[in-house]
Amino acid sequence: MGNGAKKFMYVNRRAPYGTIYALEGLEVVLIGAAFDQDVCMAFVDDGVFQLKKGQDTNESNMKNFSPTYRALGDYDVNKLYVEKESLEQRGMSEDDLLELTYEDEEDDYKEKPSIRIVNKEELADLMEQQDVILNY
């Protein structure tokens, strides 16, 4: 990451499928990965549903974009902050979420989890450190 890199946070607050924001938001993140900036994603409110395991759109005829989250690690997008309060309100725990990992080049390419559960205070602090915050 260059010294001039900006800190981008993509805040995901919507459920998948009911609206397209989650899918098209993910497209921004993937394209943005090529720009060598300091990128993270936050999953808040219904955004946590985007990471739910076991999505299957066969019967509803929409495109299942859930597998795309697995590609994020390869694009060096490996800071996915999930708000604890949002998970709890929705009766969910970390076990409900996709297992997303990345290889840490600075630690002998060890496979590490990309998802980090944070509480609201931690997330608020993270937001204050950003240069650009985009909300979907």
Binding site: Y17, G18, T19, I20, S60, N61, M62, K63
Partner: protein, 130 residues
């Protein structure tokens, strides 16, 4: 039974058009009649032939066009809503001095009265939107 279908959002941005399509198809499969499918608000954006969604995704506009062909469905795009949003057929293009039209096969532009008439003729009106 006669159903009237109202679609209030454009393709992709909201699931409304998908749900309306799946409902309409299921109703036809069960032998029900579809009096009309009326596209209102951003729903008029379902009626443009200029979309090219990714190959691995469904093509909502084509799905509607094909279902209409197969079952002789009356797909009506509201003229007032269409004018605000830039959905035009040949007549509308001429009337408003536009040098192109974009209406998709099987759709036609007509007045809001067609929505009321659909409500009168149908046993049930099903609305899909945001």
């Amino acid at each position: 039974m006669k159903f009237g279908i109202l679609v209030n959002e454009g393709p992709y941005q909201h699931q409304a058009s998908d749900t309306a399509f799946n409902f309409t198809k299921a109703a036809l499969d069960k032998g029900h009649d579809i009096v009309r499918v009326f596209f209102y608000h951003d729903g008029v954006n379902n009626g443009t032939r200029l979309t090219t969604p990714p190959q691995d995704d469904r093509n909502l506009v084509n799905q509607w066009s094909e279902l209409a062909k197969e079952h002789e469905l009356d797909l009506v795009v509201c003229v007032a809503a269409a004018q605000r949003r830039g959905i035009v057929d040949e007549d509308e293009a001429k009337r408003h001095g536009k040098n192109a039209d974009n209406i998709a096969e099987g759709f036609h532009i007509s007045g809001l009265g067609q929505l009321i008439e659909m409500g009168i003729k149908a046993d049930r009106v099903m609305a899909f939107g945001d």
